[in-house]
Assembly symmetry: none
Homo-oligomer: 238 residues x 2
């Protein structure tokens, strides 16, 4: 959950109509979600995407929710897991908590209550994150230019210049994806959490600011891929 952007939720549910309802409900609450129809598919997705919460049906073909929950919990000790179940035998519920579930709801349930519980879990994990996380130092060196993201400054030949939070975030995104094309949409969602006309213009303003910084080195530049996005890349010396 970068910045103020919406939480991203993994939704695994084999009953299509319920799944559609849930996906719609999550959207209305302002969350983004990724839907998977069974446990195997979900596990594949989970390995490659970052989620703020997992909403798992227990009874599913191929791999049931509990098994999936265990895999998820083993890989990520903190991501909140909420199980949905139809025929909740007490033992099944206890099994869920045993493998590290955070909450359990029995069908049929109130959508509003589900949303309330989701918010509780998200708030808790967010608080936990803030409590523990003191920004890991992020210092990059490009040519004779030092870029300190967490302390928000750049240093060029003993000349220290402060940069803003947004500049730092954008710069970090580029550095982490050096030589890769970042689409406008990716950048906008990552840094601003939204993608609309004005924010897109704003990005251009910030590209301009960043180019002035990057110019201090003469090895690297931000190049535009017309109609697509931008790329931080080594200059061609030809």
């Amino acid at each position: 959950m970068t910045k103020d952007t919406a939480a991203h939720i993994l939704l695994v549910e084999d009953e299509k109509p319920l799944a559609a309802l849930l996906k719609e409900s999550l959207k209305l609450e302002g969350f983004t979600s990724r839907y998977c129809k069974d446990g195997e598919e979900a596990w594949d997705i989970f390995k490659s995407e970052k989620f703020d919460l997992c909403l798992l049906d227990v009874n599913m073909p191929k791999m049931n929710g509990i098994e999936l929950g265990k895999l998820i919990r083993d890989k990520d000790a903190f991501v909140p897991i909420l199980f949905l179940t139809a025929n909740s035998s007490e033992q099944e519920v206890l099994d869920g908590f045993e493998i590290g579930a955070d909450d359990y709801m029995t069908k049929p349930f109130s959508l509003k209550e589900l949303n309330a519980r989701i918010r509780v879990l998200l708030k808790r994990s967010q608080t936990q994150r803030n409590f523990i996380a003191t920004a890991t130092p992020e210092v990059f060196q490009i040519d004779n230019l030092t870029i300190d993201i967490s302390n928000q400054f750049i240093k060029h030949a003993d000349d220290i210049k402060k940069i803003s939070k947004t500049e730092a975030e954008l710069l970090k995104l580029f550095i982490q994806h050096k030589n890769q094309v970042l689409t406008r949409n990716t950048i906008l969602l990552h840094v601003w959490g939204r993608d609309d006309f004005y924010t897109a213009r704003n990005l251009d303003v910030y590209i301009n600011k960043l180019r002035k910084i990057i110019k201090l080195t003469d090895q690297t530049e931000i190049i535009n891929i017309h109609g697509t996005g931008f790329k931080l890349a080594d200059k061609l010396t030809s």
Copy 2:
């Protein structure tokens, strides 16, 4: 809950037989508990005793569970609150979550499930507790300035000056994380337990107080990272 000792639970329930059953169950699970028969009594007790979790019945004479929960949440932003309710209208449940409940169970419920949910909540809050309770020496020496956190005073060239509890706590947090950027949110959660508009401005007031103290040494300073937070750092000697 100091490390290995059992969690201490506030149990508020006006139905005597259920209360007795719950108290017994908590004991079997290895928890200690304090029983109160109504909200008013519970609030008195809560103010003077430290609990790791609150188990509150919603329907009670004198002060209902929701009101009590709100008082508790205002005083302590972190202690987990679990509501028990007989006739759970959806709205009542939502009200509970609204005031900051962490979980909700509808009577009749499975004792085993209740215990599982209690353990989940305790586990989550444990992480934070551990972070708070990192034992560190309470006396620091920075340059010619001695800072005694537990006795709440600073000493500079034989000049002893008292500092307040909040000043001491904030100073300690900075010293423990010297040269690391602390976000406003992290600071607020640690020192004030909440992050809202007024508390945020309050932080600025205290930064101001602390800077006057820190100024007594000329090696160290509190610097602001615009839009992010603050950092206690060695002055740059350039």
